[in-house]
């Protein structure tokens, strides 16, 4: 498969996952704010840690203050991770690799883009932001379903998975990190919100019987063996995709991306809550996020760049190149 095509598929998938996560994040926090943050100051205190965790502190909501933050995160064209931006970037990537996608997959993505582009999304938002946010999360689920059901599970599909799980691991870690960024001890409502953002509430309840605590929530989202949004699950999926792409057995490695993923997986597999506490939850999550970024860079170097191009780049400019890719 063409290197550029692999790159486009990877980013298409990442941005769809990003739009999906953002939609749920907005929905959950808007709903929580209704009950717990009424005046402007409370709203600001409530939203700031969330924005900080997704690196969106610079997104200044319009005059209405934080009351309209949801709208900004949905529609802003200047904010690269707004839902509309993410969908536009995903579609732009898809346009470059249409020959790799099934017609159904393309239609789904193009339709949601047109829905935003022609103003229908605005209309729906006016009727109720939940209607629009539901539509986006539904789109993402349909897209994932179609990706699994209508395109061959060969190399291209592996790059889709890679993008999806890298993005998902990143999001889970960021949602979890909002708990560290709040000035007060996380409340019951805060913990619930984090679980809701990761669609983890019912799965969590099954395992912990409603024993809601920071320890249990963090344990679940970091280390759950089988919950598909836990960091451990995502890293295992990344490891699996990378080895499916290279054909090298798991437990060994043929490139930096595989080595780094494998060692991170081992670390997550053999860490428990005590070690997290010793290091600090924020520090643990921060390091994980840095590793995830590095894995993304190594994938780019392994499959997209030529060896001569990597040599001619210094460490920093290689990082910049990957950065430029992320922002597209």
């Amino acid at each position: 498969m063409l290197s550029r095509v692999a790159d486009n598929l990877y980013w298409m998938s990442r941005y769809i996952e990003r739009a999906d996560g953002m939609a749920r994040m907005i929905q959950v926090h808007q709903s929580q704010a209704l009950e717990y943050a009424q005046n402007d100051q409370q709203l600001e205190e409530f939203w700031q840690p969330v924005l900080q965790s997704i690196c969106a502190e610079s997104v200044h909501p319009a005059e209405q203050g934080f009351r309209k933050i949801g709208k900004t995160l949905l529609f802003s064209s200047s904010f690269a991770n707004s839902i509309f931006s993410s969908i536009s970037i995903a579609r732009e990537n898809a346009r470059m690799v249409r020959d790799q996608l099934s017609e159904e997959l393309w239609l789904e993505l193009n339709n949601i883009y047109l829905f935003f582009h022609n103003g229908d999304a605005d209309q729906l938002y006016k009727q109720g932001s939940d209607l629009l946010l539901d539509r986006i999360t539904r789109f993402s689920l349909v897209f994932q379903g179609l990706a699994d059901a209508t395109i061959p599970h060969s190399e291209g599909w592996r790059f889709l998975s890679l993008g999806k799980y890298l993005e998902r691991a990143d999001q889970t870690s960021r949602m979890l990190d909002t708990l560290n960024l709040r000035t007060k001890e996380p409340t019951r409502a805060d913990l619930m919100s984090v679980l809701r953002c990761c669609i983890a509430l019912s799965a969590f309840r099954q395992q912990f019987r409603g024993n809601l605590s920071l320890k249990n929530v963090a344990n679940f989202l970091l280390f759950s063996e089988d919950f598909p949004r836990s960091i451990r699950f995502c890293i295992r999926a990344i490891d699996h995709s990378l080895h499916a792409i290279s054909g090298v057995p798991t437990g060994t490695f043929s490139n930096e991306a595989e080595r780094l993923t494998g060692s991170t997986l081992a670390m997550v597999n053999f860490t428990d809550w005590n070690q997290v506490v010793a290091k600090g939850l924020h520090q643990t999550l921060d390091e994980l996020q840095t590793t995830l970024i590095e894995i993304g860079q190594r994938v780019f170097e392994t499959y997209v760049l030529l060896p001569s191009e990597i040599k001619s780049l210094g460490e920093r400019s290689s990082a910049q190149l990957a950065q430029a890719q992320q922002q597209q």
């Binding site: 498969m1 732009e92 193009n110 030529l306």
Partner: protein
Amino acid sequence: MSLPSQFQNYTTGHFFDEMFSGDQQLSARAHYQQIFQRFDRLTASEISDRRQQADSSFLEHGITFTVYGDEGGTERIFPFDLIPRVIPESEWSMVENGLRQRIIAINLFLNDIYHGRKIIKDGIIPEEIVNSSKNYRPEMIGFDPPQGVYAHICGTDLIRDDKGNYLVLEDNARCPSGASYLLENREIMKRAFPQTFGGMAVRPVEAYPDTLLKTLEYLSPRKSQKPVCVLLTPGVYNSAYFEHTFLARQMGIEIVEGKDLIAIDSCIYMRTTRGLVQVDVIYRRLDDDFLDPLMFRKESMLGVSGLMDAYLKGNVALANAVGTGVADDKVTYAYVPEMIKYYLNQDPILANVPTYLCWRDSDRAHVLQNLENLVVKAANESGGYGMLIGNQSTKEEREEFARLIEAHPREYIAQPIVSLSRHPTFCEEGIAGRHVDLRPFILYGEDVEIIPGGLTRVALKKGSLVVNSSQGGGSKDTWVLKDF
């Protein structure tokens, strides 16, 4: 109670009408009978349903093109008209023979120009015309392109005059586009009017991608293995990008951008996740100028450094060859009938539109005196740009063109204003006559193969003669009928 006839207010005007003969008493031509009856009976709501169906199908499938310099809608659908253009087989076979004759002559001409130049020595075409053509490539002198063919894919534009005679308007021998619209139009028509279509014995067009791939594979320099063919696109912002992905997907070949290819030791490779893979044939949808920054435009980011070197050493084939543009220069065009006589010793089956060459003193004088009654065209432009239609122009525009012609006589030609044939078309005021042309697609591989019919383009603006998509044109499906 009978329904109101869709054609009750239709008039043919003073034009040749594709569907009707007679201008007082309308009478549908025999090969249009079924179409006439079908569309005459349509109710307004049936029409709008089918239109909406077609439009949303185009938009959802992303069958769009990009309009340059237009801020509002960067992506638009190519407007599609539901009434198909019909060509009887008897007429089509004449057109087909004419096109075949023409592409063979053009290829012989290109070969001659880049080799012995007999046609110049024999005084048929002046040397300065060839040498001064913008798209003449001296790099190609003495080079033998794979299988001796230069223009493998050609999209010759045909029009019909007020008597219904087919005339050649221009030869697009560089990177003609439109084949994907033709294929999609057919799909949409089959869905919108299945019974009418099924009852008329329409010649199918779906073989085009396969034939194109066969044409490309035929050029491969490596015969020992299945050729690796790719389509080289300028990228997602190009106006024809949809077409590029469409054709690549239909042929099952990779669509690549310049940055996906790399030249090593005079061979071309594509960069894949498994390392480098050697490429044999490049269907390039990129003009010569942008192919190779080492050879042509240095600032081009779209091409591949070292591509020309690999090409000239015979390690990779390009379709079309480099330097074919000298044949679709509008000044060279004027000489094609003479080329046909010279190389093939035949009379041209399809006539040219009479053409005045402004570099000839006598022609120029005539052109400058009669600007109001002529169409003036830049010799090396396409897409309907750089054009003056005398009777629809302002005094200032004519003065501007007069200055341009005086300053660069070689760069301009003029033709009488041909009243293009018209075709019934859905417009705001109901069905009305609109001017059409026809772009058939000719493939020259082992044999010359022509897709039956072609893309019918229609000028949707009332009275307009410009059918280009960039200038508000639309398209129709074209049905060649076996039984007529």
